[in-house]
Amino acid sequence: MQMLIVLFGLSILVFTMLKLMPGDPAVIMAGLGATPETIQSIREKLGLDRPIPEQYWRLISGLFNGQIKAITYHTSVWAIIFERLPATVELGVFALIIALLISIPAGLLSAVYKDTLLDYGVTTMALIGISVPVFWTALILMLVLGVVLRVLPVSGRGATIGPWSFLTLDGLRHLVIPSVALSSVLMAMNARLTRASMLEVLRQEYIKTARAKGVREGVVIIKHAFRNALAPVLTNVGLQISTIFAGAVLTETTTAWPGMGRLMVEAINRRDEAVVLGLTLFLAAVAQVSYLVVDLMYAWVDPRIAYD
């Protein structure tokens, strides 16, 4: 219910903002040197001459039944979004996997060896990670790996455009730079989170108990502490969907990755309201669902929390 309120509010907000946007989409579509009659007919075809609430209704209902056409792409909005979706999912998932594989052990070690050189190293790296903009990381990786060392392709997604292009060597090679760049921020965030959560757990009484009864230190850390510390980190991944997408907008633009982030920038530049609204709502819906999953996961991971 709350989810629907949020999505409805968001759609109103974005629609209002789009209506305030200067530049008539009909004029842009008609191109240079179009007669006023052509512009008028396009305007009628798009329904831009109707009253504002009706336009909103047409846009929203059109989004749901798939009738609405993207203004400048000549197919339906969903077709474009789903065409671009696999690329972004691939990028996001790979970035997340890289980030988790590195950040969780790093955060764990840094908490266990608190106040040692290792800890300072990890925390400093994590602070640098959240300070460096992703598009700069991407540029630097392109420069070092693509131009100086010439080991990886600089940009694009390779020849195989399809949902499974990362299975080919070429697709995988193209994936490295954008996903590593995108993962840098996630890595830093998750390492900090793991460290904080691990330190919190290590302060608990039951850790003291376990040590007191003579459980080996390795077992205490892995079985008693780490398992409990991992829960908040994993559930937080759901909340990072927004961060991933915002990062994807920038990395995709930098590395010419044909995903939704680039689509968003393109659509805004072309004043394509339908695509912008559709993308925004789609993204918000994904984020809301992931928040819901996070809420449910809390109860699943931590049985002390119960939902009625």
Partner: protein, 372 residues
């Protein structure tokens, strides 16, 4: 006697009293500012009088000079006041208030100090940009097209022959200026909304919270992209957009209000007739100020990254105004040949944001009330 000496040159008075550490600290600060003043005079003599500085920068030059003189005056006053206080406070017991504890802990934290120094450095770069830069950051000079780093251009030149170092120095103005002002708006607006929704609950709370949820439902950067592409991207509009959409403080204040309002001392304050304003300023804000300070510091960093991101996408600061993000956008086109264009502006962004992040991190550590 020592006051007279201190009026002549701050730190001489401290030396007379054998307060060596303080004397050398003050002397160091005075000398550093003297160095900047020397640069300013050099600049002024050679450039301004010879009308090498275009009219549009002359105002900026005088503004920076005034700021510099103002800072000199502040140092001078501080030295005198400090001398007087050192004379009085010998036998006094050192303060034990929360803030004096925080300050003492902060002084011992290398992370916080280095963060503060980085920010101070960038701030001075921004304030005194006309003295540090050697040329015009906007005027094109195609004879210097894409020159690699050399003695003359330590960071190379860009595709219009402009010196990257000069542009990066001026770029700190847009980054820090917009970042700071937007964050202040975040604090004021967010703080106000948080107070309202925490105090009055009910409908106001519900509306504000739903609004925040809507804003948080898609990434901040997307809203900023949308808003900028609609309202254009002049600097005031950027500030307003960043100011409105980064409302994290609202949640902090609200949760603080909610946790405080059930306390007995609030009931007692109400019983003796304390008004709303008194409740807010005496009881709620002091409790929230620690977490607010941390958020402020961190969100200046976030805002700087978002501005850079917007400019990088071509939606933020428009060329030819020097800006780090916009410089990286230009670099994209030439990065196969001109690596220096891509490297240096990014270092400026990263170092500045890093400064704000370590300062925020250290503030969170030192202000943690559990460590009392």
């Amino acid at each position: 006697m020592e006051y007279l000496l201190s009026i002549l040159l701050p730190s001489l008075g401290h030396m007379y009293r054998r307060l060596w550490t303080r004397a050398f600290c003050i002397l160091g600060v005075v000398l550093a500012h003297g160095g900047i003043l020397w640069l300013a005079i050099q600049k002024g003599r050679f450039a301004l009088l010879a009308e090498k500085i275009p009219k549009r920068y002359a105002g900026g030059y005088w503004f920076s000079t005034l700021m510099l003189l103002g800072i000199f005056f502040l140092i001078w006053v501080f030295a005198l006041v400090d001398l007087w206080r050192q004379g009085r406070r010998r036998e006094e017991i050192r303060g034990q208030s929360y803030w004096s504890l925080v300050w003492r802990r902060f002084k011992r934290d290398p992370k916080g100090i280095s963060g503060a120094l980085i920010i101070l450095f960038m701030l001075y770069l921004a304030l005194f940009a006309p003295f540090f830069s050697r040329g015009d950051p906007i005027k094109m000079d195609l004879r210097n097209y894409l020159k690699p780093p050399s003695w003359e251009h330590p960071m190379g030149t860009d595709n219009f022959g402009r010196d990257i170092l000069d542009r990066a120095i001026y770029g700190s103005r847009t980054a820090l200026g917009i970042g700071a002002v937007a964050t202040i708006i975040n604090m004021l607006l967010g703080g106000f909304l948080g107070l309202v929704s925490g105090f009055y609950r009910g409908a106001a709370d519900a509306i504000i919270m739903r609004f925040l949820e809507i804003i948080n439902s898609i990434p901040f950067l997307l809203f900023a992209i949308l808003a900028v592409s609609i309202f254009g991207s002049s600097i005031p509009i950027l500030i307003i957009i960043l100011g409105i959409f980064g409302l994290q403080p609202a949640r902090i204040i609200r949760s603080e209000v909610l946790s405080v309002r059930e306390e007995d001392y609030i009931l007692a304050a109400k019983a003796i007739g304390a008004g709303q304003l008194r409740l807010i300023f005496r009881h709620v804000l002091p409790n929230a100020i620690a977490s607010l300070l941390v958020t402020t510091t961190m969100s200046i960093g976030v805002n700087i990254i978002v501005i850079a991101g917007l400019s990088f996408l071509g939606l933020g600061i428009k060329p030819p105004t020097p800006d780090w993000g916009a410089m990286l956008r230009d670099a994209q086109e030439f990065f196969r040949t001109a690596w220096w264009m891509a490297i240096f502006p990014g270092i400026f962004i990263a170092v500045t944001v890093f400064g704000f992040n370590i300062l925020g991190d250290s503030l969170r550590d030192v202000m943690d009330p559990r460590l009392k």
